[in-house]
Amino acid sequence: MEAVLEFFTDATGSASFLSIYSSVLRVAMPVLALFIVLRCAKSLLGFRREPEIWAWMRLATGELIPVTHWENVLGRKKSADIVLDFATVSKSHAVLTRHDDGSWTIRDVGARGHVQVNGRQVIETKVNYGDTLSLGGLEMTLEPISNEEALLQNLGRTKAGKGNSPGMTLVLLTLFQGMALLALSFNMGQEHLMQFLMAFGELAALEWLLFIGQKIIRRSGFELETVAFFLMTIGLCVTGTSAPGELQKQMIAACMGVALFLTIGLCLRSLDTAKKVRYVAAVFGVLLLLVNLVFGKELYGAKNWIMIGGFSFQPSELVKICFIFAGASTMERIVTKRNLILFIIYAGFVCACLAVMRDFGTALIFFSCFLVIAYLRSGSYATIALMVAVVGFGAVLAIRFFPYITARFSNWGHIWEDPLGKGYQQTKALMCAAAGGLFGLGFGNGWLKYVAAANTDLVFALTCEEGGLILAVLMVAALAVLGMFVVRSAKVGRSSFYTISACAAMSIMTVQAILNVFGTVDFLPLTGVTFPFVSNGGSSMIASWGLLAFLKACDTRQNASFAVKLSSKQRKRGKEAAA
């Protein structure tokens, strides 16, 4: 340790070293970041979507149809998962569901021709392999996938991380973190050296522990975490330059976040558990908000903080996770209970609570997430348009009648007219962003850090200033990659519960990024929303990791995710259950 300290002391005292650093590393950091993001993007967006086959459906004609999801709509329509193009079959006739223990059930979804199992008309019943199913008179049987077929499938599917080793990407990321550490240490002086060494050391330990832990349980997909750790590195730089004393708090939050990430991820492994947690989470979310309403403290203009033993904490951040649990749903429920009334009431309650706390930015995030969930569940543009219209109308009224919001909107697009008053934060943000150029002034060298909320609301500009435009764009692009990955993997999703919750989580993160970045650059009014993983703030960090767990649970690439059970094990259990 002392040797390290000595090295830094020598290096920071040497002017020539600093000048070499500034010319070489300043360019090297964005380039390395580009490689990291590209490698992650290539893995996450370029993987072949190879379906998992869970069973076969044999029609009376002898035709074999693969059953590729845990929840399958059987019907005449083209978009059905098992298309039965016969006149007597309804468009959506039944839902065939696979359970955690490997057993199957079939559910009539109100079809004309009814569903019969072994000749008995049923609404919902268990299906054993070999049972004769009859949908509108069309007969078929569910057949298991044989051991050889399962083995072939496992061998045939591309393992996650193949060709673009996540370990290598993590090595690059660690190198990137080393450069960031050097930058901060050189530019900020020796006073904060220990704080930087500690924080970056902990970060490296955390990411490698997580990586190795997952290797041990034979999971090789680490791109989602790598993106998160990449963003966190920028976050540490941003916090390091502006408030080095808060680095430790930020790392503690990160550890808590990773713990939450693992907990939610493990809980999502089993759909039955997840469905049970759903109700607990929904109630917990309501309680959190009520506690917040009663004991809330007003900080920075919104009453959404509570103080526990000297620590300030934002409960609304954790409500995001509860909200997703409340909104996610399995296919069977979606098809049978078409209305969204309960969820609409829940969402309305959450948004109303946030409005009372005057946290309109977060309310907007929840509303966007609600729209995404509502559309995924209903598929109806008309419903979405109606809801947007109603809320838009309400928003116009709110802008008109609440002076606090009116003030924010009056400044929107006019920041240069009042650069010392209402436009202060944003004009300074743009001045400093411009000063950074493409490669930045080096972390620790900026000026924007002296502006209020620079390391939360203005992180995009702060990154532009000190890290350069390229790095700032990569920071946003990395988040967008996560979003695109969710959509891409939806096609091979096991259950709609996972797909919906992953979509909801990614829309929360994306909307946060939109409000944060666009607020800084005056495309939107400044709402004081955090950028996931980057902005300084413990609650936000914990919640971001919690949200990432939902993305992890939709990653069905072979051996990719700890939050997804290996399909081979799943089948084994299925066999045992059948026996």
């Binding site: 059905a80 411009a434 946003v476």
Partner: protein
């Protein structure tokens, strides 16, 4: 499940919005970042409220301003007073638009490396001569007005002084609003031109009336147009075109204006730039006015002699004079010769030509007529060494006060100078302004001789 997976594309729209917005920001960054970084109060290039652009020199290499550490102006008070409108003051009452315009160049900002290499000081070299400006300011003798001189072959503005002025190192405690102390009159004021506008009417006449140069006119001292009288100070009697201009005969030019017509007069006014605002070196000049919409014949007649609602900006009229002198088109005037950062020239002025403001033949004729003005009326003793062509004006601005105007040029390829002098409440144009023009032109000629 297929339905759900298709619907997820809806959520993709959010990622799309995010990426689209970032792309839009990147575009804005490349378009505007130099403006952002040099905006007033930008932390990386400002210190103690002033832009740290570096040092400003005049054409002779005299240091006018060092922007570091709260601005150091020239040591000499008369130089400071003569150049403050170009440089701006510390309090920002007089904005330093030229410095702001070249700020990003001077601080060494570039979009690639930001302000990383901006440690070196910038150097801005102006085309004006502080010495000539000081002489001009002294010649104005505290009267409100402006003197402009520029080289119509190269475009360099040698003198652009505005009076009253102030010493930035010793600013006045109280400022009379009516004085217009903070206004840069050369570029940001417009005046009723008075008789110098007869040059424009004469140009329009030569372009429309083929026998105008051979016609004879009779002035009885007044003429009635549309029921209202237009008068001359005295009856000029028999006149030809040249004599009418030299005598500045209102009656004759009123009838010429009527014959030329509103449309043609407006067209020529627009062509020579009276109604335009010019933008160069960060300055936006004030547009003049020539508006005959809804005007009757009497108004047209008055407009033709530079009254009615006519307004011209000194800069734009000086530019017009340059074009007449140079045979139809002249170099576009400019103020900044070059901008340097860290020893390397980042900007160097280039001579650009105006379009044809007046055809060559009419320009030649106008030159002769304006030379005749000087010989016959204003007196060549005001301009002993060189051949000056000019026209004076005494604009009635109401309330009994007149704006004295005097515009013209030197017809000499060694000293290709066009000029304008405006003195508010200045009485008769030629007697007030001609000596000022003479003094300033002589200073310019001495300067040019010295530079050879």
């Amino acid at each position: 499940m297929n339905d759900i997976s298709k619907r997820t594309y809806f959520a993709l729209a959010l990622a799309g919005i995010l990426l689209f917005g970032i792309a839009a920001f990147v575009v804005r960054f490349f378009l505007y970042s130099d403006r952002w970084v040099t905006f007033s109060g930008s932390p990386h290039v400002y210190s103690s409220g002033n832009l740290n652009t570096g040092v400003v020199y005049d054409r002779s290499g005299l240091q006018l301003l060092d922007t570091e550490d709260g601005r150091t102006y020239a040591a000499d008070s008369s130089t400071r007073r003569a150049t403050v409108h170009l440089l701006g003051d510390r309090e920002g009452n007089i904005p330093s638009q030229i410095l702001s315009h070249y700020a990003s160049t001077l601080v060494g900002y570039d979009k690639l490396s930001g302000t990383n290499h901006s440690s070196g000081t910038g150097e801005l070299r102006l085309t004006v001569s502080a010495q000539v400006q000081a002489i001009a300011l002294q010649a104005l003798n505290g009267q409100k007005g402006t003197v402009g001189v520029y080289n119509y072959k190269t475009g360099e503005i040698l003198c652009a002084v505005s009076s009253p002025s102030m010493d930035p190192d010793n600013p006045p405690q109280t400022v009379d609003d009516a004085s217009g102390l903070y206004v840069y009159r050369m570029f940001h004021a417009s005046y009723t031109p008075g008789s110098i506008y007869k040059l424009v009417t004469a140009q329009a006449a030569m372009e429309t009336i083929s026998d105008i140069e051979t016609r004879a006119f009779t002035c009885t001292g007044s003429t009635v147009i549309n029921g209202e009288t237009i008068t001359c100070p005295k009856a000029h009697g028999q006149l030809d075109f040249k004599q009418a201009l030299a005598s500045s005969c209102n009656c004759t030019f009123a009838h010429i204006a009527l014959e030329v017509g509103a449309r043609k007069l407006s067209e020529v006014s627009e062509r020579i730039g009276v109604t335009d605002s010019f933008e160069f070196d960060g300055l936006y000049t004030k547009a003049g006015q020539f508006d005959l919409s809804g005007a009757d014949d009497n108004a047209l007649a008055w407009a033709g002699v530079g009254q009615y609602t006519d307004l011209v900006n000194p800069f734009q009229f000086m530019r017009y004079m340059g074009a007449v002198a140079n045979g139809g088109s002249a170099a576009e005037p400019y103020l900044v010769a070059q901008a340097v950062n860290n020893g390397s020239v980042k900007y160097r002025a280039h001579t650009a030509m105006t379009g044809e403001l007046i055809d060559e033949r009419s320009a030649a004729k106008l030159q002769q007529m304006m030379r005749y003005n000087v010989e016959a009326i204003y007196g060549t003793w005001n301009f002993p060494d060189v051949q000056v062509c000019a026209k004076s004006g005494t604009a009635e601005t109401g309330g009994g006060s007149n704006t004295a105007t005097f515009a013209g040029f030197v017809l000499d390829s060694s000293y290709p100078l066009a000029f304008i002098v405006v003195v508010e409440e200045g009485g008769a144009g030629s007697s007030t302004c001609a000596p000022i023009a003479g003094t300033v032109l002589q200073a310019c000629i001495n300067l040019m001789d010295g530079e050879r």
